[in-house]
């Protein structure tokens, strides 16, 4: 089984970080993984996206053309990538920033006002992780344990408070 995930939004929203969390989850659950960022003259506020593949088999191209999961965190990314999603695929959209409308009926779109939820809970900047919480609930291809383990690996012990905040954000998304 192979999951191809596209994450896209503005630079500074934690797109690459959220992708990294997913890649770590895959790795710690024993799967093959690849993570490929868009790179270039990008900066805070510019567009940013990354491709993550989790697979039981060897991964060929690390470039995701047709994602089975799209996590969109701004309007241009939603508009640009929604048509690429495979039939039967899943879209998670930050509806605080996106007017979530599409003609496609062959995909499942979840609107989560992640940016507002993060702000209200004192977790500003955690919208990306809230969306991962929703992803866990709706797709089940990664588990709560995997993601907690991944966060513990990525975040150094001296910043333990960040682990707590991230887990809070995961839970918020999961319960939405």
């Amino acid at each position: 089984m192979t999951s191809e995930i596209q994450l896209a939004g503005f630079g500074g929203q934690g797109i690459l970080f959220a992708g990294k969390v997913l890649a770590y989850c895959g790795m710690y659950s024993g799967r093959e993984v690849s993570w490929l960022p868009s790179y270039g003259p990008e900066m805070r506020g510019g567009t940013c996206n990354c491709s993550v593949i989790l697979s039981d088999d060897k991964i060929g191209s690390p470039v995701v053309q047709n994602p089975s999961v799209l996590i969109a965190m701004n309007q241009p990314s939603f508009a640009k990538f929604i048509s690429d999603v495979v039939s039967g695929g899943t879209v998670l959209a930050d509806s605080s920033l996106i007017d979530v409308q599409t003609d496609r009926t062959d995909i499942t779109v979840y609107s989560v006002p992640a940016t507002d939820m993060a702000k209200e809970s004192g977790l500003t900047g955690g919208a990306n992780i809230i969306l991962l919480g929703k992803l866990i609930k709706e797709t089940g291809f990664i588990s709560m344990e995997d993601i907690e383990g991944a966060l513990r690996k990525i975040i150094p012990p001296k910043k333990a408070q960040l682990i707590e905040n991230n887990m809070k954000a995961i839970q918020l998304g999961y319960d939405y």
Binding site: K20, A23, Y24, M27, E32, V33, S34, W35, L36, P37, Y39, G40, P41, K58, I59, G60, S61, P62, V63, Q65
Partner: protein, 357 residues
Amino acid sequence: MANNKTERVLMKGNEALAEAAIRCGCQCYFGYPITPQSEIAAYMSKHMPKEGRVFLQAESEIAAINMVYGAAASGVRAMTSSSSPGVSLKSEGISYLAGSDLPCLIVNVMRGGPGLGGIQPAQSDYYLATKAGGHGDFSMLVFAPSSVQEMADYAVKAFDEADKWRMPAMILTDGLLGQMMEPVTFKDSYSTPIEKPWACVGHDNKREHNIINSLYLKPQELEDSNIARYKRYELIKEQLPEAETFMTEDADIIVTGYGACARISRNAVIAARAEGIKAGLIRPITLWPFPNKVYREAANTAKAFLDVELSMGQMVDDVRLATECTRPVKFYGRTGGIIPTPNDIFEQIKALAKEVL
């Protein structure tokens, strides 16, 4: 970063290469920033001083390669890294290293060209790496990894072989492999550098002094040195060629590509098989020496070859030479930083199958 020695860690290709270089005893890194290889320099700047080794950001690429020359002459493992335009600048120094029979590692994380080109992945420096690394009669060892694990493994291999054969080695890779992250495992221990009695480390009046030089003003001496070097090349061509094959045994269509293109082509080969086209893949790992034998053998049974590159067609020449033009070799390439999809390559396979099957 990678503390536990057998643990899988998630790293960028550039970082994995740098970590492996440190682990196999690279004493000196000299570089100059350029996208998409800058993570190598960044990683080295962070970790080399901690190990008591040398990290130096030179004033230019030219300065960096000449610093490598100096460090290599003293017998230590030394390296530099850059991306395409920066490697052009290093050409002169590479030729001097080859002419002086000095081992070192040069990493080229290719981006689009010519000129300043772009910063997205490309493979348009194949000629530069395998045919024209600089002026004069010489070759360097060229390795083309195709995963983050191989970025690490072949950095070590490149150092080992460079030392063994006393010549520069290049890792020829691209922005895709440099920037992507995959799990990688490092070994407990790597080969330690070999004795280098030729190194200039001071003779204490106990032996003849060593001379490292590429200048031979007497024609016969220069020719003799060239002939000796080319004799060594003949041995290397026998011993070193390396390639990976995938489903080639019964293949009618052989797809071939290195680095990033090999990964993408693998998906295409699987897709072709699923539609009943007998496709296979040859992935050269050493680009110099080129693994001619694998191609020659495949040409006995295959009906046609499809060479895929992120260039306008460079390695395709070597594929045609290796197969001695006994089979049609079709070329498919993209440039400018555009990465073909597995489906693009699958379409090429289908079209070729229609022609020859």
